[in-house]
Symmetry: C2
């Protein structure tokens, strides 16, 4: 018992370096003990103080913050932390961080690199199969006792030979592409820049890509250029048999347009892991049988979370010991 108490002290030793957490990222929630053994975690979310007061109380000492999309690092937060030198995110995307302000202040930012790419690509493919082949709908059909009563389950749509447009052919998009090729799909893409190393057809314009595709798989970063890029016009170009899968960020889609297009049959279905106002999902989606709605879990595997906790700790240790960061984000936002 004594030995265990020494390994896992109930209170954090005061000599550990301080790391601020505004809201607990999922990776931190799962691996809190491992991370807390390495750093002195300042938990704003457990303080009786309002967040702003808590930040101001620690303003002079906080050099590092650990975050994810659940607790955005806005210009206001940054203003309250004048000593901040690094923002460590447990995610790949950094759209929850005011990157322009970080750049101006010289605050460094790390993500987890492409650690999640394979797992996110697997879920993108799983969502596409699910919507086109009606898998979770079929599961509801059987669980609801409808099979013996109704008989024939509605036919789905074959994946082989379908034209799939990938929006954003980065670490995730290129992994989605190779998986879909193995299923006999015909892959095209749009991206900020043409990728000369891939054999896939490049479309400079998402509207034209949608016109020529049976499904779109969204894998791009959320930026000012991509916000609400998938709107009513793009969905109508995709057409009544078209499917949209989103494993990027919710705001890449205009959600009001998506709801209307799904309700009106302007597109055939959607597989969504992300939403504009998580954890809130437009309630109109929840009654639709041709939609699959996941709770932003495309990177949620035991293996990934363990690796992510190690990268987070590695970046913080590198920062505090003046060594090169493991996965710095190039801040060209």
């Amino acid at each position: 018992m004594d030995a265990q108490d020494h390994q896992s002290p109930p209170s954090q030793p005061p000599h550990l370096r301080q790391v601020l957490v505004l809201r607990p990222p999922p990776v931190f929630a799962v691996h809190e003990q491992y991370i807390s053994n390495k750093f002195h975690i300042l938990k704003a979310y457990e303080s009786p103080l309002p967040t702003r007061d808590f930040l101001q109380a620690n303003a002079q000492s906080v050099k590092a913050v650990l975050c994810s999309g659940s607790g955005p690092i806005t210009a206001d937060v940054l203003r309250d932390l004048p000593a901040l030198e690094i923002v460590v995110s447990t995610t790949t995307g950094v759209n929850h961080i005011d990157m322009a302000e970080c750049r101006r202040r010289g605050i460094r930012v790390t993500n987890v690199g492409d650690l999640f790419s394979d797992d996110v690509a697997d879920v993108a493919v799983g969502l596409l199969i699910d919507v086109m082949r009606r898998i979770s709908g079929g599961d509801r059909f059987v669980r609801g006792g409808r099979w013996p009563v109704t008989g024939l389950y509605p036919l789905g749509s074959k994946l082989g030979g379908k034209r799939i447009g990938i929006v954003g052919l980065g670490n995730i998009g290129s992994r989605v592409a190779s998986r879909l090729e193995a299923m006999g799909c015909i892959v095209s893409y749009t991206s900020r820049l043409r990728k000369h190393s891939t054999p896939f057809t490049f479309y400079p314009d998402v509207h034209q890509l949608a016109t020529d595709s049976d499904a779109l798989v969204l894998c791009c970063a959320l930026t000012n250029d991509t916000r609400h890029m998938i709107n009513n016009k793009v969905m109508k170009a995709l057409g009544k048999n078209g499917v949209i899968v989103n494993v990027a960020r919710g705001a890449v889609i205009n959600e009001a347009d998506l709801v209307k297009c799904l309700e009106d049959g302007e597109i055939a279905g959607a597989g969504l892991d992300v939403y504009e106002n998580e954890p809130n999902v437009p309630k109109q989606l929840l009654g639709l049988d041709n939609v699959v709605v996941l709770p932003h879990c495309s990177a949620f595997t035991k293996e990934c979370f363990e690796d992510a906790a190690q990268i987070v700790v590695g970046n913080l240790e590198a920062f505090f010991t003046n060594k090169p960061l493991i996965t710095p984000v190039t801040n060209d936002f």
Copy 2:
């Protein structure tokens, strides 16, 4: 209107060749008009007579029968059809046909060849992703309004690097293998015979394959050798983190053992498209969150059904005009 009436006569012209249907196969149900325009369909299932009386009333004239698993062609049925010369199945598997009796009588059998293989392989992969990454469970979580309340969704299991054992490396199994390779899985297999053309590790014994695998994907034919092959012992060898996907036939698994192993946590989860007594699914499965239950729809795509209807018609036309059958089944049962 007149022209349309001529194309689709309300009653079938008597000069068309007779084809008996005991119970309507799904492909027939969807493409009844197309098939009925080519043949005079004797519908046992619409007759007021008991099936046996209906068969005996048509015993001397019926040379061809169209079937699927929903209406087995048993020794009893064959005995009542002394003039029968061909059994045309809308399926790939022919376990619903008494092949030994067909062989003895010289009755020919056709299936639809490997028409469904890509679509079935897609669903096998979809089920594996779904169970390991908790997709339909995640959809229930969001639809049930639990995300904003519960917060963190349970972590799934990464596919990359996992050892997947394929049971039956035929047309479907080999397509599953190539899809899983693109996802970074390590594929092994068991099969009646070692396939020298594949790079995958062969296991002569399913128990050893299970011991060395993180998941089993069942793609084999149902035969006397494979019936109830996946039993309690094999599942325990697979282990507490193991997953089973079945797109073969329900009776390849001992369902009572499967239910018990799932309830007791002896395996981690299952993705099932097929059951021993369809359309009845063991009701204990319907309450489990780590199970995905589909209504035997792995081949249910519009594209496949159209192709299958053409193959069925092609085989029947070939038979009635003494031409070579398109997709005969080699009867070595």
